[in-house]
Symmetry: C2
């Protein structure tokens, strides 16, 4: 048996802890009751009569892939503007920008032969790459697992096609971390190899899925001289696996590939913006958005059609459920996230120029899957407040509230006062479809999309209600 | 400023709370460190070189749907037995049972005409239903939303086809709750209408998805006399929606349907059982399982091929990661969950007969989706212990640990001492595929399946390590 004094201390401690907890619980329950009712109303509306899914069907199936500068991107701009007007959003307008204009050209071709056996290789040019010569490129292949390994090979790369083949780490639970651990090969592979006279670069597709689809994505030659530019393509994971095996027995096999992509002069395009004017602080803004452009291979469904329709749905649901926000809620359909983030830069620059007060910004650009949580990127003062909302959304499966990061389109707004957040759905299937021909409408589940839209609307409701106004000093 | 005494109390409280927390954390961290390392090893193995996905491909694509009593069900039994032997499981054996043997017969047919417009209606007979006469049934339709409403209509049902059309409640976040709120129509619709002379029953498919696939499932005539049996079918949700609309303008439309299903005499079949013998308590058992039978329309992928391969994978992963369990870990591939649970009843009855000591049982029969948590159904003593494992699995996304319920195949083991649990994955997509022709291998995501297998293995590891042995009084 414990001695008395310890028991007393423990007893006192328990009582004090309980009292303290009780006070906290009273506060929490007051917030909870009103807010949990409001949030339930939002979820009910989204799940019963949400519009996001049918909007997505329209955007993805009637317009499809919409790479910056393409006719489809322009159609998407007009689609977004019309939809906002139809929904009665206020101050609907286009924000003009100039965007990079890269075109894929005709379908790429790649193969190699070992003896009589021809292996066709599914490839696609990476965004920003130059074309091969008309007759294509034929060369031996040198396989590496990292930029460092390529650099170390140095002059051995001359005249070769460099094959970057470091796979995603499957043991990382969040697939975005696995992506982050590999994507340098895609982005900087060509830049790294250029100075050593490589004639081509092929990169294992950025996915955990073993399949026959090449996954495109942006690459950059950085600041190397243009005579060092090498044509760069992604190859499917199945083809990467086979090539790796074939190279073991046939290290001198000749690989052929041809692509006819090119970069045209910058083209005019637009962010699309609409609002609900704030009742109390009409000149202070909460932005919610995704990106309207997509890669050209699929329909841009999970990347980022879902973020677009969810962001539009946030404003519709606020109106539908009778919420009159204090701050002006702005939906922004950002253009050119995929290969330039020109829309994001323009939006942030104009906000700064106009000395707009931005209270918060939320981005959805991680797919339209079942919600898991939100990230927080803001100051210390608001962090605790933000995290205190977790119990309000955990009944809807949002348990993963993390610190750090938001999204490429809202990040440029960061200024030390704004609260930034990224919508975080289940990441398991995202890279199966990311930047490929399979990123199509049928891969999106209606309820998963609706749950995400409701979760985002709930967060915007809470941010509008509770976030302190911290004006930027003018 | 607060007064000093309050400050002191608060300060003391904080210190005491902190100390108490520290003690708790030391205890927790001791458990955590060893266990979290072990669990990480399990997840790594499953995600890097898991076998569940390829096993599922084999079961679903080379055998396919495997309704109790069918040749495919027998093939699945042999498949499971062989796989267990190949994996080196011990005491691999078949447990003989007799199962209901219902066959669908030729493809069903249904339509109605309004003026010159013929509407074909996708239907499928419900499991256990009788056939229509050879020439089919043609009758007017009476729509109801519940068993109660049907009962209240009474004699108005005579000569009519009763159309049960209460949809899932889309506002319920867990779709199993929505299913639970509707499935009485499918199970007991015919039983309810029989005494009033209805000539047929058609039931809206049990899904939130609006599509053209009828979803089958078990129904029962209960104890009504066989002359009151009515042929019963499911119709697709899109067809249910259209029929509902057409009935408003054409309440006397004539609906035709034909089906040729029948119930044959009970057939011999088997549960398939394998083990890893416990090092310390070889005569005490922890069971993990799913059901080997499925409906005939699809490939039985999510229901319950995934549960089968995950359960097999639990034993493989325990061996693979070098875990030597204290108790005997038994995998059971239960036969006949869908239309009789004869396998489950036999397994529990034999356990009781042999006076086996069953420590715990875990079932996976909610689809192969991303893990969200586990349910607990056991005594109060072990509940807290079970719930204390949550922090070990929350890094893998398992936040929803609920009390109550396990699964139809392990529930008969309940005896007041055993710890029962059900594996709970994300429920959003489950009823899109449930009991339809679309429940096929391609609907299962490899990583989601692997994460589930790892979560289940982790729970079995923890149950084996920590659950108190509470022998049944013999």
């Amino acid at each position: 048996m414990r001695n008395l004094s310890i028991s007393l201390i423990i007893a006192f401690t328990i009582i004090s802890c309980t009292e303290k907890k009780a006070v906290k619980e009273v506060e929490t329950s007051t917030i909870n009751k009103q807010d949990s009712t409001q949030i339930k109303t939002i979820f009910n509306a989204s799940l019963s009569e949400g519009q996001a899914y049918e909007w997505l069907r329209d955007l993805t199936q009637n317009i499809g892939g919409r790479l910056s500068g393409s006719p489809e991107a322009q159609q998407a701009v007009e689609w977004g503007e019309q939809l906002m007007k139809d929904q009665g959003f206020e101050n609907v307008r286009l924000q003009a920008i100039m965007v990079p204009h890269w075109v894929r050209g005709e379908k790429e071709n790649a193969f190699y032969t070992i003896g009589n056996e021809l292996s066709a290789v599914p490839i696609c040019a990476l965004g920003g790459s130059i074309a091969t010569p008309n007759e294509g490129i034929t060369a031996e292949v040198i396989e590496v697992k990292s930029l460092e390994e390529a650099k170390a090979k140095g002059e051995q790369l001359r005249g070769k096609i460099v094959f970057f083949n470091r796979p995603f780490d499957p043991t990382l639970i969040n697939t975005f971390k696995a992506y982050g651990g590999c994507v340098d090969q895609r982005y900087a592979g060509a830049k790294t190899c250029g100075e050593f006279g490589a004639v081509g670069v092929i990169v294992r597709s950025m996915t955990l899925s073993m399949d026959d689809y090449p996954h495109t994505g942006v690459m950059s030659y950085g600041d190397i001289p243009s005579e060092q530019y090498t044509p760069t393509a992604a190859i499917s994971t199945n083809a990467a696996k086979k090539l790796n095996e074939d190279l073991k027995t046939n290290p001198n096999l000749k690989f052929y590939f041809k692509q006819s992509c090119k970069t045209l002069p910058d083209a005019p395009s637009f962010n699309v913006i609409g609002e609900i004017t704030g009742s109390k602080y009409p000149d202070q803004y909460i932005t919610v958005g995704g990106h309207l452009d997509s890669w050209d291979l699929g329909e841009g469904a999970h990347d980022d059609g879902t973020g677009i329709v969810q962001s539009l749905e946030v404003l519709r649901l606020l109106k539908e459920t009778g919420i009159q926000p204090q701050h002006t809620i702005r939906v922004v359909l950002f253009m050119n996230e995929e290969n330039g983030t020109r829309g994001a830069k323009k939006y942030a620059a104009e906000a700064k120029l106009k000395k707009e007060v931005h209270v918060a910004a939320l981005e959805s650009d991680s797919g339209g899957f079942t919600p898991r949580g939100f990230s927080y990127d803001g100051n210390e003062e608001n962090k605790e407040l933000f995290m205190s909302w977790k119990p309000l959304l955990s009944p809807y499966g949002l348990h993963d509230w993390t610190v750090g990061g938001s999204g490429a389109d809202v990040a440029p707004l960061k200024d030390g006062t704004i609260t930034l957040s990224g919508y975080k759905p289940n990441s398991q299937r995202y890279f199966d479809y990311h930047h490929t021909s399979t990123d199509t409408f049928d891969k999106v589940n209606r309820r998963e999309l609706q749950l995400g839209a409701a979760a985002m609307t709930s967060l915007v409701y809470l941010m509008d209600k509770y976030l302190d106004v911290q004006p930027i000093k003018k």
